[in-house]
């Protein structure tokens, strides 16, 4: 049991309960699925965001359990301002038990919010998908059970009273050629679907699921590209002001998917990252997942560059607002991303100076990101 945030006793309701899993350690397997350095780091980054930045006044975070399996030695989780916690491995047994505890906590109120995050290998066949846990070794080793059959688990979670459920699945969902021959019912459902136990009120389920090929993950020792994009979105680039433009910002699951896709596209265009996208879960409802503190303005990625490529001469860039320069860069023959990121606003002016000539352009900066070429 690895609670990063222990559930208080008695547990308040409504509340948010999170379960975060990152699997990077796999047995040598016939499906050629390698160990991954990225998932435990990604799980840690997401868990840290939940602990320190997640804000939901209607259902504050009450508990969070983390399981991870780094490819090397087990690593502890450093709680902010507290002691280190040794994190349990994401084996089938541990995951089964953690899901049981998470289910029980979420099940205490219909107004609870259940948050589930997974990063690791995944397999998809037709409309069925599996999340692979530590120990999974493929059919040759006959331990196909070390997998969570996500499709059925998701359906089974309808039994849980928490009527708001949000799932983040960051896994490549390859279908290894050999997987086409596996038995229909491999993996564990853990929470079996049961019509008779389903609450009368329809649940709101939403989520963000990777829809990628083998290139889902980033570098081995970095947070995965998808989780990076997700966190950038949660920290500002995915905020939305549908009801009160420029003043009241919220993160809803509907727009989160769109904005995370925009950020992934930005990474492709700016850094040549491989193609990757996310999808929402089927039948997704629109759930407001995060309520940023009132008065906080989001910041978003911005790239400023020239249309002419390669640069004819070193170019200086500047961003100003109300006549004052807010960011600038000395002449260089390359594009520029202001750091730290700029707040959203509709009255920026971007300028490029090259060979004694200056070009200016008004720019509106809004989520999710912007590429401005002059």
């Amino acid at each position: 049991m690895t609670y990063i945030l222990d559930p208080p006793n008695p547990t308040p309701a409504p509340a948010t309960h999170a379960l975060v899993i990152g699997v990077g350690k796999y047995m040598p397997n016939t499906w050629q699925l390698p160990d991954l350095g990225s998932p435990p780091l990604s799980a840690e980054a997401f868990a840290r965001w939940m602990l320190t930045e997640y804000r939901n006044p209607l259902a504050p975070l009450a508990s969070m359990e983390v399981l991870w399996s780094p490819p090397a030695a087990p690593a502890p989780f450093a709680r902010p301002g507290a002691s280190q916690v040794q994190v349990d491995a994401a084996t089938l047994t541990n995951v089964e038990q953690a899901i049981g505890r998470w289910f029980a906590l979420c099940h205490q109120s219909v107004d609870n919010v259940a948050v589930f995050y997974f990063c690791g290998h995944g397999v998809k066949r037709g409309l069925d998908s599996w999340l692979l846990l530590e120990g999974f070794a493929g059919p040759a080793k006959l331990n196909l059970d070390d997998a969570l059959k996500f499709t059925d688990f998701l359906l089974g979670m309808d039994k849980c009273l928490a009527r708001k459920q949000i799932y983040f699945i960051d896994s490549c969902r390859d279908t290894p050629a050999a997987a086409n021959n596996v038995q229909v019912n491999f993996g564990r459902t853990i929470v079996t679907p049961d019509r008779s136990a389903t609450p009368g009120v329809l649940r709101d389920v939403a989520g963000l699921v990777s829809a990628a090929d083998r290139s889902a993950f980033g570098a081995n020792n970095e947070v995965s590209r998808l989780t990076q994009a997700l966190l950038i979105a949660l920290r500002g680039a995915g905020w939305d002001d549908r009801t009160h433009p420029w003043t009241e910002w919220l993160v809803s699951t509907d727009t989160l998917v769109t904005y995370v896709n925009a950020l992934l596209q930005y990474e492709e265009q700016v850094r040549g990252a491989p193609f990757q996208r996310v999808q929402s879960l089927p039948d997704s409802a629109n759930i407001i997942f995060h309520y940023p503190a009132p008065g906080t303005m989001p910041t978003v990625p911005l790239l400023i560059g020239l249309n002419a490529q390669p640069y004819p001469a070193p170019t200086a860039f500047a961003v100003s607002r109300g006549g004052a320069v807010v960011a600038q860069r000395p002449p260089m023959p390359a594009d520029w991303e202001p750091a730290p990121q700029l707040e959203v606003a509709h009255d920026y002016v971007v300028s490029a100076t090259s060979g004694g000539q200056t070009v200016q352009k008004p720019v509106v900066l809004r989520p999710a990101c912007r590429i401005e070429r002059l």
Partner: protein, 534 residues
């Protein structure tokens, strides 16, 4: 203060299919207007655009296509004046319509030197990142594919060489739904030859306007490198944007369609007996949009009234179990819901594989919910196994279903469906004192007919999937061809007879209707519509 107007149009180089596009317009006030943001759908192409009433001031106008392309312009609106805004999209082809399509294209990496297509034959030049589109297009033109017809009576597939009703749009196949008018029950499929991959064509489609069903070959991300998969799109100008945004997971845009276009989906469902496939598609769109109240009890009528359509029964099964949908004046308790849902699942299975992927998902959900429950309404084992196999064989990310079993024979078996024993066995109640099983019993594989374990072992054998495909492909076929020809002739004969019968029935119905007084027409609104039933 008076209002101003923005006339927004999204101009785009349109091809055959782009005419069905719609853009999601998002207008953000820049000068503190009180009205907040304005969002709407705007048709793409040569249409006059859409006029939106806004408060005077500066606005940021954004339009988003299902592909994720975003176009932006700033505009100042004065009181009482109309400001035209034209956002010009790039010269793009079909990638704009559906995000999953663009995903497939863009993610695929082709080595042109290993492909058998001639890139020089492509009709226009594509930017580098779009070259894969061109390759896919050209590949379709050279790919050997086969049109299959399925006869519900003989329950047999027959290859058809009759491509007269098949047109082409560029290098793509496009079926004119009017010309390619199959009698109810006879289904048309496209098979990629020498692969176990079969696409179900959503025909017959009796659209309000002339409708095409377009088939594209796209790289298969789920398969081995270089493999292709087929996708079909119904180019119905009102349905396509809904499906495009839903497929694209752009739910904010899709939900924007709810007030405007969900009413169209509702109308499609309402007109289910004129165009049953559109009725099913409309119901599925409403389910995706969670517009449950717009469904009324019409899925039940669709299931009962269109006896060749598996999707109707699949939708009815889910609606009965999850929403408690019952015929007018009837209420169902939990046991009644389960029993009805089970019956719908069996009906769907007897009708064959659904036309739409989402229907497969609904069937699977119902089976699982009934299968694990401590209830007497378990779905028949054979049917449950068939649904599970379908669920693993249907290609994801496509609205129109295409299936791929371990072999072509398995795919065909899956498509044919299962006929559970009739009449249906009464609900099995456990004997007093006997604990009910909480897990599904071992099931037979519909493909092999073997109990679970044996079937699984066989599935894992090296002869399955690709190996089997190659084996089948290499066999001499003269006898099969002769049989197919005979069977084709029989099917054609049956089709002709069915058409004749349908024409006679139509004639009789028209004559009967002429004799009657004009019936009070349903308004299509909730109250009036509830009375509707064919």
């Amino acid at each position: 203060m008076g209002m101003g107007l923005i006339r927004l149009s999204v101009d785009k180089v349109t091809s055959f299919v782009d005419a069905i596009d719609a853009a999601f317009a998002d207008l953000t006030p820049l000068s503190g207007q009180k009205g907040g943001r304005v969002q709407a759908m705007v048709p793409v192409g040569k249409a006059a655009g859409k006029v939106m009433e806004v408060e005077p001031g500066d606005w940021l106008v954004q339009a988003r296509l299902p592909s994720g392309e975003v176009f932006t312009q700033r505009v100042s609106v004065e009181e009482g004046r109309e400001e035209p805004v034209t956002l010009r999209a790039s010269d793009s082809s079909r990638e704009t319509r559906s995000w999953p399509t663009s995903l497939s294209y863009a993610a695929a990496t082709f080595d042109a030197t290993r492909e058998t297509v001639h890139v020089s034959a492509i009709r226009r030049s594509f930017p580098r990142h779009k070259k894969t589109f061109a390759l896919a297009e050209a590949r379709l033109a050279t790919e050997p594919y086969e049109l299959l017809l399925w006869d519900p009576e003989s329950r047999q597939f027959t290859s058809s060489g009759d491509w007269n009703a098949v047109g082409r749009a560029g290098e793509e196949l496009a079926f004119d739904a009017e010309q390619f008018n199959l009698p109810p029950g006879v289904r048309a499929f496209i098979q990629l030859r020498d692969t176990p991959h079969i696409l179900s064509l959503p025909l017959p489609w009796h659209g309000e306007k002339r409708t095409y069903v377009q088939v594209q070959a796209v790289p298969d991300l789920q398969g081995e490198e270089g493999e292709m998969t087929l996708r079909a799109f119904v180019l119905d100008p009102q349905l396509a944007p809904v499906i495009g945004f839903l497929d694209a997971s752009d739910l904010a845009a899709a939900r924007m369609l709810a007030p405007e276009t969900a009413s169209f989906a509702k109308r499609m469902l309402y007109g289910k007996f004129r165009n049953p496939l559109a009725g099913a598609a409309g119901a599925l769109a409403l389910l995706r949009l969670r517009e449950y109240t717009l469904l009324h009890d019409w899925p039940l009528n669709l299931a009962a009234g269109v006896q060749w359509l598996p999707d109707g029964a699949a939708i009815a099964a889910w609606c009965t179990l999850k929403l408690g949908m019952a015929a007018e004046g009837k209420t169902l308790d939990a046991a009644g819901r389960a029993a009805e849902a089970r019956s719908h699942v069996h009906t769907a299975a007897a009708r064959g594989a659904p036309y739409f992927a989402r229907s497969v998902s609904l069937l699977h959900h119902v089976c699982l919910l009934l299968q694990y429950a401590k209830t007497d309404a378990r779905v028949d084992d054979e049917v449950a196994a068939w649904v599970a196999s379908l669920h693993q064989s249907v290609k994801p990310d496509s609205f129109v279903a295409s299936y791929e079993g371990s072999s072509i024979d398995e795919t065909k078996l899956l498509l044919a469906g299962v006929r559970p024993p009739l009449p249906e066995a009464p609900p099995q109640r456990p004997a007093p004192g006997v604990a009910e099983p909480t897990k599904p019993r071992p099931v037979k594989s519909p493909a092999t007919g073997l109990p679970g374990g044996q079937a699984e072992r066989r599935r894992q054998s090296p002869t399955s999937k690709r190996a089997k495909v190659k084996k089948t492909a290499g066999k001499p076929k003269p006898q099969r061809r002769a049989a197919a020809k005979r069977s084709l002739a029989a099917i054609k004969k049956k089709i002709a007879a069915a058409k004749k019968r349908a024409a006679a029935a139509k004639k009789a119905a028209v004559a009967k209707a002429a004799k009657r007084k004009p019936a009070k027409r349903s308004s299509g609104r909730a109250g009036g519509a509830r009375r509707e039933r064919a």
